[in-house]
Amino acid sequence: MKLGFYPGCSLEGSSREYNESVMAVAAGAGIELEPVPDWNCCGATAAHNMNRELGLSLPARILAKAEAAGMKEIVVPCAACYSRLKVTRHELLEDEELRRRISAIIEYDLRCEPEIINVLQFLDSRVMPAIEGRIKSPFDRRVACYYGCLLVRPHKILKFDRLEDPRSMDEIIRRIGGDPIDWAFKTECCGAGLSVSKTELVGRLSGRILEDARIRGAEAVIVACPMCHSNLDLRRGAIEKAMNRKYDMPAIFITQAVGLAMGIDPAKLGLNRHMVPVKFRERPAGKVPAGPESPAAAGEV
C-alpha cells in the first residue's frame, strides 16, 4: 500500500521522533508513505493570523503538489498541519471564487482532490488492521489520551470523532493492550503557538492538562500533535514553574505507543529524544505481558 505523506516542518526538526515513529509503524504495517514532492510549510498559526490569503495559499500549494503527483490521500501526522490543510481544502471547495483566486496565486488550477487523513484515521484504518494479531508486547499502561484542539475542531469542517470527549485514540490504545483513562482535558488547549512568545501562558495551560492526568493516575500522556508534544515535553520547566510541582509523567506520541506494542526497537521510535525521560514504573510480578524483551517494562528506554 502506498499513501501520500506530508510530514510538515516540526517532524523534520524538533519532533523528529514523531516522524521516526510514523515511518517505523508504517513500515511495520507494510505501508509505504510517499512524501508530497518539494513540500513547503503550511504556514501554521502565523500565516492565517497575519494574512488571510497567505494562510490559504501555503496549504493550497501543498495540496497542489500532491494533486499534481496524483495522490488521492495524504497522511498528515501533525495536527496543526492537518487542520490547516483540511480547513483550506474545505474553504476552497465551498467558495468557487476563492478557489480561483488562490489558484491564481499558487499558479495551479487546484481541484482539491487529495483527501487529508490525520494520524488517528491512518492508524485506525490502515495500520491497526495490518498489525492486529501481531501485537508482540501489549502497551499495558494506564494513559491519558490527549487530542488537543486541532484534531477535532472546528468540528463542522473536520467532522472527525466526537467533538466533546473524543474516543478514537482511546480505542487505538485499547487495541494495543493499553488502559486509557476517562479524563476531562482531552481537548483543552495546550497553549499551542504561544510556546515561544508567551511561554508562561503555555506553562499554565499545559500544566492543567498534566495535573488532571496525574490526579487520575495516568502513567503517560499520549499525543498526536508535535505542538502539543513540545508544550508538554519541552516546556516541562514552564509547566512545573506554573503549577509549582514536579511532573515526571512522559508525553508520548501515539505512533510510539503503537510501535512499542509492535515490538519495534525504542530507539527507532525516537523514544530517546524526549526531554522528559520515558520511564514506566515496574509492573507487579505476574502482570508482565507476553514478550520477554518488552521495552516498556524495562525502565528507561
Partner: protein, 194 residues
C-alpha cells in the same frame, strides 16, 4: 449612552465589514457569554470574546478602535473552543483572524502583543527564505527581534543532543513560487508579508 455607541449599522461599521468580508454575523450574538466561559485565555485577555462581540455590536469609532488595539485578538490561540460551543454558531475564530488583519493594516496592534507578532513575523520570514520553517533560524531571528536573548538558552544544547535541532536549513526547489505567493498575498490586506 452616547450616540457614538450603538452606531447606525447602515454606516460603515466594523461589524458590517466583518459580515461582508467573512460572513460572520456579529449581530447574532445574544451575549450568553459561553465563549468567554470556555476560552482558556479569557482571564488573560483585556476583553473576553463575548465582550469583543458586544463592543462590535455597539460600534462607533471609539469602541472599534479599542477592539483593534486589544491584546485579546493576539493572545487568542484559535483553539476553536468558542465556536464549537457557541449556541448561535458564530465563527469567532474567523472573526478574530479578520480583526488581526485589520489591526495590522491600520497599525493598531496592541503593545502587549509585540512578542506574539514578532514571533509570527520571524516564522513567516523563515518560510519566505527557505520554503519551510527553519526552527533554529526562527528562534534566533525571534530573539533578535524581541531582544529576549537569553530565553531558552539552556534548552538549546539539550535539544541539540537529542537530535532535535537542524543546524542547516533545507531550501525547497519551489522557493521562487513561495516568494511570489508571499508577494501576491500581501496585496490582499492583513500584514504586508513581503
Amino acid at each position: 449612552m452616547s450616540t457614538d455607541a450603538h452606531h447606525d449599522k447602515a454606516t460603515a461599521s466594523l461589524a458590517g465589514a466583518i459580515l461582508e468580508q467573512t460572513g460572520v454575523p456579529v449581530d447574532k450574538c445574544y451575549q450568553c457569554g459561553k465563549c468567554s466561559a470556555g476560552c482558556p485565555l479569557a482571564a488573560d485577555m483585556d476583553y473576553p470574546p463575548s465582550l469583543i462581540l458586544r463592543m462590535l455590536q455597539a460600534g462607533g469609532p471609539e469602541l472599534e478602535e479599542k477592539v483593534l488595539r486589544s491584546y485579546t485578538i493576539w493572545v487568542c490561540l484559535t483553539c476553536e473552543t468558542c465556536y464549537s460551543r457557541c449556541p448561535m454558531e458564530i465563527d469567532i475564530p474567523v472573526m478574530m483572524d479578520y480583526l488581526r488583519h485589520e489591526s495590522l493594516r491600520l497599525g493598531m496592534t496592541s503593545p502587549r502583543a509585540k512578542d506574539i507578532i514578532r514571533f509570527h513575523r520571524s516564522f513567516l520570514d523563515s518560510i519566505k527564505y527557505t520554503g519551510r520553517l527553519y526552527e533554529v533560524g526562527l528562534v534566533v531571528d525571534y530573539k533578535a527581534r524581541s531582544m529576549h536573548l537569553l530565553q531558552d538558552v539552556k534548552l538549546a544544547p539539550k535539544m541539540y543532543f537529542k537530535g532535535k535541532l537542524n543546524l542547516i536549513p533545507e531550501t525547497i526547489k519551489g522557493l521562487p513560487l513561495i516568494r511570489r505567493i508571499f508577494s501576491r498575498s500581501s496585496k490582499a490586506g492583513g500584514e504586508d508579508a513581503r
